[in-house]
């Protein structure tokens, strides 16, 4: 008598059908379970491009599976080409996932402490296998995500999809735009380079302008001796103290890796749920004004998710992945790393990344409470409620001339303020310092540091802008540097009269060279002016690659 009876059904099947058919049936069964409803034959039908049989087994994963239940079973034929959606929403989601994955790789080699963060960056860039690749991908993905999310919003505005009934979808989209922007801001703080320190300093000083409204100011004065305590507190919480410090770095790190991604993924869920509930909106010209037929797709105008939509989505993902990898390898896109953070020196020409230049430009205009808080507050406030205040029934371009014109004006303003954020607007220093800053910029290595160490031969070299002959030097690298030096002095010749540029190369220590850049000129009142800056180059500095 058996104590227990072991029953293995496959053995019965083999006995009944023979080994091979039984195993095949078992594999088919496993595949059907894994795909939540598609057998091997069904899958091959998909891959061969067969028309869907009736009843359509390709709908089963939508009904029974977790991942596919979020996706519609079919789309309207009119929304599946590139226009009107350009797949920007899908690509935004993809880059969110892409950033999560590359970010986790970087987290392995990163410690959020001012003592080692910068060292970690150097380690990732030089020693960790594929570390440079991962960091560049992460940075490229971040910039691509900002661009794609912004374009997604622009497209949604242009085709009028923020209108009823999709106002709340738009609202959550603006939340996601903010999450994207703050994610990227918090990301470039982490390397603890000069950009990190001064970007947080400026950002925290902006929120420090938060006004303390009546009667809180009286309470603040009474209890904390600080009538503008709201601004002070926000500033201290953001920086971790009066100046950005270790606590501050840890706070921004946690925001970057935990809080913001969490908020982001939750809102992506809400956003996409609303997209599915209301259906993918048809192009504006395809419907009568005031009608919303997205949910009523005639049988003969359906494109099924499986196989057409999923194939295209995978194609787009493959394409942007290829573009990203190409950009950071052959495309020579590299995430910038400025010199180590120095709380005693604000670098000349320090700029935010391109997608924040518009804020930097606005801040040059004046009052920080207005340009740093109220103006961005109004911009995002209007974006948040746009769907609820702009209630014109028509989505057609011809009926929305005012709205589209406002959008174009806003884009022009964005371009202008972006230009104003660059160093060329209102922050140029004196001509002598600008010339030296071309050769040895304070925010990135620049031409002098990128010239190979061996090219610097000790000696004194002089360039004069009015010399006819090209500068002479023993090496090609030095010659091209001197040519650049001369060219910059020529450009500045209206401000630097009788200028001469001197470059002195000295063997300072073993494997260390000192390079002095000195400019002499004559002032308008006849006195002599001079400016000098020293640079030290080590043989192993490796700025070149």
């Amino acid at each position: 008598m058996a104590i227990f009876k072991l029953h293995v059904p496959i053995l019965d099947d083999i006995k009944a059908k023979g080994l091979k058919p039984a195993l095949l049936a078992k594999v088919d069964d496993a595949v059907t379970r894994f795909t939540a409803g598609l057998s091997i034959g069904d899958l091959r039908g998909v891959l061969r491009g067969d028309p869907a049989p009736r009843p359509n087994p390709r709908l089963k994963p939508h009904a029974d599976g977790f991942w596919f239940h979020m996706r519609p079973t079919y789309y309207h034929n009119l929304v599946t080409p590139l226009y009107p959606e350009f797949r920007l929403g899908w690509l935004s989601l993809y880059f969110m996932v892409f950033e999560t994955i590359t970010g986790i790789f970087l987290m392995v080699f990163y410690t959020p402490s001012p003592l080692v963060a910068f060292e970690n960056m150097l380690n990732i860039l030089s020693r960790v296998p594929l570390g440079l690749f991962m960091r560049d991908l992460h940075r490229f993905g971040a910039e691509a995500m900002v661009a794609i999310v912004a374009l997604h919003m622009l497209r949604t505005f242009l085709t009028g999809n923020y209108k009823k009934p999709r106002q709340f979808t738009w609202f959550t989209g603006v939340v996601l735009l903010l999450v994207t922007l703050i994610l990227s801001f918090s990301g470039y703080l982490l390397p603890w380079d000069q950009l990190s320190l001064w970007a947080v300093t400026i950002g925290a000083s902006m929120v420090e302008a938060t006004p303390t409204p009546w009667p809180l100011n009286l309470l603040g004065d009474r209890f904390f001796g600080d009538p503008s305590f709201v601004g002070t507190w926000v500033n201290n919480i953001a920086r971790g103290g009066p100046i950005f410090n270790a606590d501050g770095l840890l706070r921004w790190y946690l925001l970057h890796i935990l809080a913001l991604p969490l908020i982001g993924f939750v809102f992506i869920g809400v956003h996409y749920y609303k997209v599915v509930i209301h259906g993918h909106s048809l192009p504006p010209e395809a419907e009568k004004v005031g009608e919303d037929t997205a949910k009523r797709v005639p049988m003969d105008q359906r494109t099924y998710f499986m196989p057409d939509i999923i194939t295209r989505e995978l194609f787009y993902v493959a394409l942007v992945t290829f573009i990203s990898v190409f950009a950071v390898t052959l495309g020579n896109f590299h995430a910038p790393l400025e010199p180590h953070a120095d709380p005693l020196v604000t670098p000349l020409h320090t700029t935010a990344p391109w997608y924040f230049l518009w804020i930097q430009g606005m801040l040059k205009l004046g009052d920080k409470v207005f340009w740093g808080l109220i103006a961005p507050g109004i911009i995002f406030g209007v974006l948040f409620v746009l769907g609820y205040i702009e209630v014109g029934p028509s989505r057609r371009y011809a009926d929305r001339r005012v709205g589209l014109s406002v959008c174009m004006v806003a884009l022009i303003a964005l371009s202008v303020t972006t230009f104003m954020g660059t160093p060329w607007y209102a922050v140029s220093s004196s001509a002598d310092q600008e010339v030296v800053a071309v050769l040895v910029p304070q925010t990135h290595p620049g031409p002098l540091r990128e010239t190979p160490y061996e090219e610097f031969v000790a000696g004194e070299y002089t360039v004069k802008p009015d010399d006819q002959a090209d500068p002479q030097a023993p090496t090609e690298g030095l010659k091209s540097l001197l040519t650049l030096y001369k060219h910059e002095l020529e450009l500045a010749s209206d401000r630097l009269k009788n200028a001469e540029g001197i470059m002195i190369v000295e063997d300072w220590q073993e494997n260390l060279k000192k390079i002095t850049l000195r400019i002499n000129w004559t002032n308008d009142d006849g006195t002599a002016g001079t400016f000098s800056q020293d640079v030290y180059l080590h043989q192993d500095s490796n700025y070149g690659d």
């Binding site: 400026i202 005693l344 604000t346 930097q360 920080k368 002016g529």
Partner: protein
């Protein structure tokens, strides 16, 4: 039920259960408010005594010469300037801020958004690399988005016995031109003491080119 006449909306009385739910809800809202307050309290940094904010002695020999340009004191986060006849006769000086001669300790941090401006000798002024605010050697704004003059620290001139000979006048420079103004070191001064804990906010300065 009479279906013809439109019915007035019926009001249903609040039950005890409904009332208790509201009380519960209100108490949870109160708890969340308290929790938010606690969160802010938790997140506020704690300060240690003796950090930046103390008094910094500067020997008289370390003070820059008259009209020689500002000198950087990174440990105290200030610039020391010695304003002489040349600075006072500067044509760029906005009329609203009468220039005065003497020594002044200016806080290094830009009053716009907290970057460190620097002295540019060629242009004979302070320039901020972030958003382009420009200040004269005496801290008066002449250009850019800053909305007030640079902040100054209270400074005392001491003689060899440590007696106070002169002191920066405290007060609001917007109302009193002599508040936070430089002073010429009295004869017998051997040391000045810069109090980095006492900062005098610069006067409001918002006009293009500088001015109230």
């Amino acid at each position: 039920m009479s279906s013809a006449a439109p019915q007035a909306p019926t009001t249903t009385p609040m039950t005890r259960r409904e009332f208790l739910y509201y009380v519960w809800g209100a108490s949870m809202a109160l708890f969340m408010a308290e929790f938010s307050g606690a969160l802010v309290w938790f997140a506020l940094p704690r300060f240690k005594e003796g950090e930046f904010g103390g008094k910094l002695p500067v020997d008289v020999s370390a003070i820059p010469g008259v009209d020689t340009g500002p000198k950087d004191f990174p440990e105290g986060r200030f610039w020391l300037v010695n304003l002489g006849p040349k600075s006072v006769s500067d044509e760029r000086q906005p009329a609203d801020y009468p220039p005065q001669q003497g020594v002044l300790a200016i806080y290094k941090v830009c009053v716009h958004l907290g970057c460190l401006y620097k002295w540019v000798p060629t242009n004979d002024r302070f320039e901020c690399p972030c958003h382009g605010s420009k200040f004269l050697a005496n801290g008066v704004r002449v250009d850019g988005p800053a909305r007030r003059n640079l902040d100054a620290f209270v400074m005392r001139a001491l003689d060899a016995n440590g007696n106070e000979l002169a002191k920066t006048k405290a007060g609001d420079p917007a109302k009193d031109d002599s508040a936070g103004a430089p002073f010429v070191l009295p004869a017998g001064t051997v040391q000045i003491e810069v109090d980095t804990g006492k900062r005098i906010q610069g006067a409001v300065n918002t006009k293009p080119g500088g001015g109230k």
